[in-house]
Amino acid sequence: MTKGKSRFIWAAAMAAWVLGIPAGVSYAAYPERPITMIVNYSPGGGSDLSARALAKYAEKELGQPVVVVNKTGAAGTLGVGAIAASKPDGYTIGVTTYSPLTMAPHMYDLPYNPLTDFEYIMGYGKYMYGPCVRGDSPIKTLKDLIDYAKVNPGKVKYSHPGLATPNNFGMIYLSKFTGAKWEGVTFKGAPEAVAACLGGHVDIVSQNPLDVVPYIKAGRLRLLASFCDTRWEWVPDVPTARELGYDFDVVSWLALGARKGTPAPIMDRLRKVFKNAMEDPEFLDILKKMHIPAAYRTPEEYKKLVEDGYIQNEKMIRELGLHKSQKKN
């Protein structure tokens, strides 16, 4: 090396070291003030309460309050959008659930790009799905349902909370694989969808365990199958769709994330702290009560889930004719 070049390298190294010191010091001091956790669903629901439990745990390790702020609406996209719009300084994190990242972007013009705008802290839970009928219905198994639907075309209706939801997709995939036909009725939310089935206005309700397990236990509803890759742990006798010969599954995830560009040391700290939360008995207890199976995924794993889901759901959404490019306006 020439003398000039080596001097240059020396100077550059010195500069990097000098500049690095304050940066290193400030990251060690993180967090210096309260952190905001944006939850994209309403207070009291599964996503909200599990996030609050995480926040509570994190406060202990981080030494600063983690304040939950609900920013609800538009199927979870408003909250996710707020995370994408936040400053990547580590003081704003939030719940980055699966469907606002993998389904909604195909349907609406959203101000965030799910593939590039987020750094994930971890995936922590799974949402499960499955069709239920009323307890007093003569339909006892999935096969009964399929037979019934084939004999009574146009009669079978199911309730779901939205077109681009795994709840709906599950029923559609099932229809494709079995050849039985049914029609979906959109309701505003889970309670309305469940009430519609209980009251006899629709035949099937397709919801999360949280919404239906109490009724299953009371005998008012009966689960016919699990749409996921595993059975429902609360109703272990009911097989998955795959076990019955229909090769598909739908699932959705709960995760925490922040804006991309958040400094790596801060992300590492957050990832470590929240990973520890997965062992916190209080948090696990809340997950259990919310009927959300704990499912830790590393940030890289979750990123992959989102990427795969993005592609996979695009196909389904196009088939349904819901893709934003297919709409007139």
Partner: protein, 499 residues
């Protein structure tokens, strides 16, 4: 356990020092949050939710429930004093309550609101105790066609809401439907009138809309008056409702309570709709409908009772079936879950202490609220004495913060301001806000119910008349729409009013 035994048992758990304290904290915070415009019980409940983790389940529910019905008490305060609904459900109280305040009768208005709320709360709790399970099952029978009919019935009330020009009121109603359509349409997945703004995907929020339309516009109108409101403050005609007021309010309170109770049971029904319907009914049944909108105490007594009774009714689907009738109930459901309780059909059976404890503490809470609110009337009335030039910036500030706090959205605050201007212009050009709000709330439910019903019936409209409940409702709606015309048809126009 027989009924009396259960009630006594409930009181025995509700009146423990711990639970009494939680009850008090809940109703106190609820009142505070109800008075402050914008911020509602949901926000306060979500704040307190974590602190309830370590409290007994009963204590937690008592406190959270207290926040909810406490907010209903408090919400009417600002409606009456400054025409700003503290809670969206208190919008209707603005119509006559504010007028009463302008006439120096803020005290009686606040008083009858408090008393009416208490009586209504008591009645709804009695209903809750006696007929909860069968009512809940009956409520399940209300499917999309029944909801459609119910909403259609509600729409007919619109006609009675208008104090002035009917065409203009109908225009406002139609506008309300259009405004309510802004956002993502759930059934088709399409964005309607959102013009690419993300926040509008969720629609125009009810709270900012109502705060702007009624509250901000009123401030603007007051500001431009050169003759100040000093006049009003010297004519305070007593702080409590007079005997005459009680006589006029008795039946509205009774009707409002029963109406609110039943409407509150239906998921999606709720306090707002009950108060509107109560107002319409009172006006319809009144001997002198023209006094509505100008400070008729019936216009405060009925709706205020209705919205409180509705909060009681809303507990029924939650406690007996585990179905939350509104967002607040959904939060309570979450709280129950956290405490390891399974809300659902088994709750009453497995945890009678919870059910009866909560129900009896609601009674205790209502009593506390009456005791809390009555002395405060004197204080609130003093607020009106503050010179407007000092008062209005504070009103505006509280509205701004309140609107922001609902969903942490600047867009919401912007919407509030824009509707403040619209409301101001509307008042100038003599268009009324109440029909707009009612249609705004009913419209989406009407549309959803229609589309859901048509999917279920495979496109047949017969579903609305073949199902018994729906058919009855339809007949009633047609009757209500055409009954004002009856005198013309039968030429039996009453020439003199009976006395």
């Amino acid at each position: 356990m027989d009924l009396l035994g259960s009630i006594l048992y409930g009181f025995s758990v509700a009146l423990t020092p711990d639970n009494l304290l939680y009850c008090f904290i809940g109703v106190f915070i609820g009142t505070l949050v109800g008075v402050l415009p914008g911020i509602g019980p949901v926000g306060a409940m979500s704040l307190l939710l974590p602190t309830t983790f370590h409290v007994s389940p009963l204590g937690a529910i008592i406190m959270l429930a207290g926040i909810y019905y406490g907010a209903m008490y408090g919400g009417s305060t600002t409606s009456i004093l400054v025409n700003i609904p503290g809670e969206a459900a208190s919008v209707v109280t603005c119509l006559d309550g504010y007028q009463m305040a302008m006439q120096g009768r803020a005290g009686p208005a606040l008083g009858i609101a408090a008393f009416g709320s208490f009586i209504a709360g008591t009645i709804s709790i009695i209903g809750l105790m006696l007929v909860a399970p069968p009512l809940a099952e009956a409520a399940l029978k209300f499917g999309p066609p029944e909801y459609f009919t119910l909403m259609a019935l509600g729409m007919t009330i619109l006609i009675y809401l208008a104090s002035g020009s009917i065409p203009k009121a109908l225009m406002m109603a139609v506008l309300g439907i259009i405004l309510a359509s802004v956002g993502i349409d759930a059934t088709s997945g399409k964005q309607r009138f959102t013009f690419g703004i993300l926040e509008l995907n969720d629609g125009i929020g009810l709270v900012p809309l109502v705060m702007g339309l009624f509250g901000i516009s009123e401030v603007l109108l007051n500001l431009e008056q050169k003759v100040k409101r000093e006049i009003l403050k010297t004519r305070l005609k007593g702080l409590l409702p007079s005997r005459l007021d009680w006589r006029d309010s008795a039946k509205p309170i009774a009707r409002g309570s029963i109406l609110g109770f039943f409407l509150g049971i239906l998921p999606g029904g709720g306090a707002l709709i009950s108060s509107f319907v109560s107002y319409g009914i009172e006006k319809r049944l009144s001997k002198d409908p023209s006094k509505f909108g100008k400070g008729a105490i019936e216009g405060v007594a009925g709706p205020e009772s209705a919205n409180n009774a509705a909060t009681g009714g809303a507990f029924i689907p939650l406690l007996t079936l585990g179905i939350p009738a509104n967002v607040v109930m959904a939060m309570l459901l979450g709280a129950l879950l956290i405490h390891g309780l399974q809300p659902g059909p088994m709750l009453m059976k497995n945890h009678p202490d919870l059910f009866w404890g909560v129900v009896t503490s609601m009674y205790v809470g209502n009593a506390m609220l009456l005791v809390l609110n009555l002395p405060l009337i004197g204080m609130w009335v003093q607020v009106l004495r503050i010179p407007y030039r000092t008062l209005f910036p504070l009103i505006l500030l509280f509205c701004l913060i309140g609107a922001y706090a609902v969903n942490y959205s600047q867009t919401d605050v912007l919407i509030m301001i824009i509707f403040g201007v619209i409301g101001y212009l509307m008042k100038k050009f003599q268009y009324e806000g109440a029909p707009l709000v009612l249609a705004y709330v009913l419209g989406p439910m009407l549309e959803d119910a229609l589309r859901q019903s048509l999917v279920i019936s495979n496109g047949s409209f017969a579903i609305f008349v073949t199902r018994p409940i729906s058919a009855i409702g339809m007949v009633l709606a047609i009757f209500l729409v055409f009954s004002p015309l009856l005198p013309w048809v039968t030429k039996k126009r009453p020439v003199f009013k009976e006395e």
